[in-house]
């Protein structure tokens, strides 16, 4: 049986289990599995158990418990946690402890969730394999020789390995969805602005979005209901009404109009096993009564360029504050302030981070701004319009999450361009600020998970989750771990 949010909540509320026991059990699993998976950067056992006991007290007193009561949650290490290290998996912030909680963390506390640790990632969320972490490489629980994907690789791996029920990731160009696909779990990138970014250490401000990674679609829906909502601390956060997702989950997909962009299947480098698995899912949807049609949505290679220009430009500015002056890494020997900054940054940032900072700085330089950054913004608008065109006639778009299966550690580290190509199905979604979800839809012959991506129009998460839930009911769940009871 899969351990779900509901299962934990009802076990606690019904008095069958103490929260403390449940959390202890999760730490026991972490002890067993973490040495192989390496998904966590920080664990906070004492605080978590203390929190668990306080929830048990609450129940004893008959107080109402929150929507995530007793649910263990792992947090990507780029989301600020008050009093707990938040490193972005970078030497730069190795010892940085934020003095405040991100808005999403406050929301988790408010719903009685239990934070169990911070997860590994690619440094400053730049990467697709977790190999850019300054501290460790996380393994894919389905095959530990392989990468878990990235940048939220740790968050996906710990949920897949059932060391946590839920985790938070961040998605700038696919960083929730791609590792979710690689690890066979459900990863949701909400519409830009639906979840507050306050406290998320920025990579590319206009693309970043926090979202949940869970084992089931229903857990994803519960998580999103908790995480979403306007935040006065984030000017870009959505001011509209908060939707509920659970009630429509069972509604079915009959009559739902789904678009399949034909170009997505002609992509160079799309693994045939992935293509087959997606086609099989499409047939399932048709059997469930959805109307699936082929459409044309040219996947422009230029969009990859637009994405890397915009995200790197914003990153070059966002990461400029790490200068060794106020916090974070400071070089040992220096004479003048310029030297302090230059050496601190040179010594503490990893290769990929430096590559993006240089690319972004160049793109914004005077004389190049129009040719690069401005042009990329124009292309972003065009991409956005293309999707709007499709959503005039369709409710959802179906696509693969990634063109490739989880690859071996070290396989692609020397070829950044090939690594970037792995983002071809996910980056446009961030450029167009759309919501998208990746869910497991099958396995390769070797037993590696395959991810299917559902893309919706702005704020159509309800439809997205409903369609995903229906498919999940058809396919069923599979775990890399032998079953255990709660």
């Amino acid at each position: 049986m899969t351990i779900t949010i509901d299962a934990i909540k009802s076990a606690i509320e019904g008095g069958e289990r103490l929260t403390e026991e449940i959390i202890l059990q999760f730490y026991k699993r972490i002890e067993e599995r973490e040495p192989e998976v390496n998904g966590f950067l920080t664990l906070c056992r004492d605080e978590a158990l203390e929190r668990a006991r306080s929830i048990d007290q609450k129940r004893k007193k008959g107080e109402k418990l929150g929507r995530l009561a007793g649910v263990p949650v792992a947090i990507k290490d780029n989301i600020s946690t008050d009093g707990m290290k938040t490193t972005c998996a970078s030497r730069m912030l190795e010892d940085y402890i934020p003095p405040y909680d991100a808005t999403v963390i406050k929301k988790l506390w408010d719903e009685d969730a239990i934070i169990i640790g911070k997860t590994n990632m690619d440094e400053f969320a730049m990467g697709s394999s977790n190999e850019n972490s300054a501290f460790k490489v996380t393994s894919n629980p389905w095959d530990t020789k392989r990468v878990p994907g990235g940048s939220s690789g740790g968050s996906a791996a710990v949920v897949a390995a059932e060391m946590s029920v839920m985790s938070l990731g961040s998605d700038t160009g696919g960083s929730i969805r791609q590792p979710a696909a690689f690890c066979g779990v459900v990863g949701l990138k909400p519409t830009y602005g639906l979840v507050s970014r306050f406290g998320l250490i920025a990579f590319a401000s206009s693309l970043d979005q926090i979202g949940p990674i869970t084992r089931t679609v229903k857990d994803s829906a519960i998580s999103l209901e908790v995480l979403q909502g306007h935040d006065p601390m984030d000017s870009t956060s959505y001011k509209g009404e908060a939707s509920s997702y659970l009630e429509s989950l069972e509604k079915g997909v009959k009559g739902l109009r789904m678009a399949v962009p034909k170009e997505f299947f002609h992509t160079k480098g799309l693994d045939p096993e992935i293509a087959d698995s997606i086609r099989a899912s499409i047939e399932r949807y048709e059997r469930l009564g959805a109307i699936v049609e082929e459409v044309s949505l040219p996947l422009m290679e230029e969009s990859l360029a637009a994405y890397y220009l915009i995200s790197s430009a914003e990153a070059s500015s966002n990461l400029a504050r790490f200068d060794g002056v106020r916090y974070g890494y400071r070089t040992k020997e220096y004479e003048k302030i310029e030297e302090l900054m230059e050496k601190s940054r040179s010594e503490a940032f990893g290769k990929e981070v430096k590559r993006r900072i240089m690319m972004g700085t160049y793109a914004l330089s005077s004389g190049y701004y129009d040719a690069y950054y401005n042009k990329a913004q124009k292309l972003r608008k065009i991409i956005s319009l293309q999707y709007q065109e499709i959503f005039k006639d369709y409710d959802l778009i179906i696509s693969p999450t990634t063109p490739i299966l989880p690859f071996l550690k070290g396989e692609k580290t020397n070829d950044p361009l090939e690594m970037y190509l792995g983002d071809i199905y996910t980056i446009n979604i961030n450029l167009a600020e759309l919501p998208a979800l990746s869910m497991p839809c099958g396995f390769s012959k070797e037993g590696l998970p395959i991810g299917l991506q559902l893309i919706g129009n702005h704020y159509s998460e309800a439809t997205l989750l409903r369609a995903a839930h229906q498919l999940e009911q058809e396919i069923g769940l599979k775990s890399p771990i032998r079953k255990e009871e709660v």
Binding site: P232, S317, R321
Partner: protein, 478 residues
């Protein structure tokens, strides 16, 4: 050869908001270092800016007060550069779409009026302050000022002399003060000006290389710096051989009395401006702009007209009085108490201004209440003290904050108006100065003045001069 000086000004004014531009920290000046900071203004990782609406309101107000066009669509941009006083390593500012553009103000230089065009006004955040102490091996940083809202007002290069530049800044300062946009305290840095200056042959069309001058913290320094730079450039054009005027930024060193090179054009930053992704564009409604326009209070040129009509002040008096909002406010409050606009003007522009200057007190910190000065003027008016005594009382009021009657009581300065009392003193004076009495009776009228002086001396200046004079004349002619 005739030369012409071309000056354009960039003025930074801190806005009079209670809290900072993107967080709720107070903007108040003078707190202990780093006291008014939070994760947001310190730019800690993960924090986001949220625009203080009052900043938009004040910027619009400034635009309207300076006859600008208000851009109904403007946006914030990032200006990227590394400096320890800038915790995010970028300043949130406005680049290509400022909130206000194309304005003008009128300046008056020795009676000659001239219109100066304003190119733009944009919103931005202030940086922190670096402190270099002699005994500290490291520089220190105070981030209290970081995130204090600023507007930058950029003029066209319409100014033709250092005097015009000063007149422009003075006029601007008065407007910003009157409209409640900025307190414009130059010594605290809430009004800062940079100047771009170049010289060219009269009649020449194109401009020569301009030099930007920074760090001029008072009108006096501004004038000195401009005159010095004007002279430096003129001399280089006229006599320079190996050296030319180059485009650069120079810092005014008031101690040395000269400008010192800071950086040349080649070292200029590439700020890599791009639209701030953390803030939405600023979209305004016409109605909102109008509403803000309706809240604009009386501006300096309007006050000048009213003061001239109501109080009959001279142009010179008006210039000083209206040019200083605090002084003008004090003046009006005093007139309300005492009437006598002329007398009040004499007090305010005379003794009050003199003492303020002597003690280096700013006009917003006048230690005397308008009511107190008003009652002092009334006492003179009613003949209860002489003008001379009043001056003494005023100084005492200025230093101690006491009420005039209190001072008069304490020091026994009350005027002697009682006829019997005065008569006795006059008799005594007449008796001890027979020669002068003789002289007066012989027709030497100036002897009366001498005798009056003796009466005043005898009374320690407390004799009511009018009564004393009448009595004296009566006695002499009897």
């Amino acid at each position: 050869m005739l030369w012409e000086t071309i000056i354009g000004m960039e003025i930074h004014a801190e806005l009079e908001t209670k809290s900072k531009i993107f967080c709720s920290c107070p903007t108040e000046f003078g707190a202990p270092p780093n006291h008014h900071t939070c994760p947001i203004c310190l730019g800690l990782p993960g924090t986001l800016p949220v625009m203080n609406q009052e900043v938009i309101t004040l910027a619009i107000k400034a635009g309207l007060a300076l006859n600008c066009e208000i851009n109904l669509y403007s946006k914030m941009d990032r200006k990227n550069y590394f400096y320890p006083d800038l915790p995010k390593a970028y300043q949130i500012s406005q680049y290509d779409l400022p909130i206000c553009k194309d304005g003008w103000i009128e300046i008056d230089v020795e009676g000659e009026k001239k219109e100066i065009r304003i190119n733009r006004i944009h919103i931005e955040e202030d940086a922190g302050k670096l402190i270099h102490l002699e005994d500290e091996p490291n520089s220190l940083i105070d981030y209290n000022r970081v995130g204090v809202p600023l507007i930058e007002i950029v003029s066209e290069a319409d100014l033709r002399s250092p005097k015009e530049a000063v007149a422009y800044v003075k006029a601007l300062k008065a407007i910003l003060e009157y409209a409640g946009i900025s307190d414009c305290r130059m010594e605290q840095g809430s009004l800062r000006c940079d100047a771009n200056i170049s010289v060219r042959n009269h009649g020449q069309k194109e401009l020569n290389s301009k030099v930007e001058i920074k760090n001029m913290n008072s009108f006096k320094e501004l004038l000195k710096a401009m005159e010095k730079e004007e002279k430096r450039q003129l001399e280089l054009y006229q006599f320079g051989e190996g050296h030319k005027v180059i485009q650069e930024t120079r810092r005014w060193d008031s101690g040395k009395g000269r400008t010192i090179p800071m950086r040349s054009k080649e070292d200029a930053h590439d700020y890599r401006y791009f639209p701030e992704p953390d803030l939405k564009p600023i979209i305004l409604q016409e109605a909102m702009v109008k509403e803000i326009g309706d809240t604009l209070p009386e501006l300096p040129h309007e006050k000048t007209i009213r003061f001239k009509g109501d109080y009959g002040l001279t142009d010179k008096e008006l210039e000083i009085l209206v040019g200083d909002k605090a002084l003008a406010t004090f003046y009006e409050a005093t007139v309300a108490k005492a009437g006598e606009p002329k007398a009040v003007a004499n007090w305010v522009l005379g003794d009050l201004l003199r003492l303020l200057k002597e003690k280096e007190i700013d006009s917003y910190a006048i230690p005397v209440e308008p009511e107190t000065l008003g009652s002092l003027i009334q006492l003179v008016d009613e003949g209860r003290i002489s003008g001379k005594i009043a001056k003494e009382v005023f100084e005492e009021m200025f230093y101690t904050g006491k009420k005039p009657l209190e001072i008069i009581e304490e020091k026994g300065l009350k005027q002697i108006s009682g006829e019997a009392e005065l008569e006795a003193i006059i008799d005594k004076v007449l008796a001890s100065n027979p020669q002068s009495v003789e002289d007066f009776r012989d027709g030497k009228k100036q002897a009366l003045g001498y005798l009056m002086g003796q009466v005043m001396k005898e009374t320690g200046g407390q004799a009511n001069p009018k009564t004393a004079k009448e009595l004296l004349e009566g006695k002499l002619s009897s």
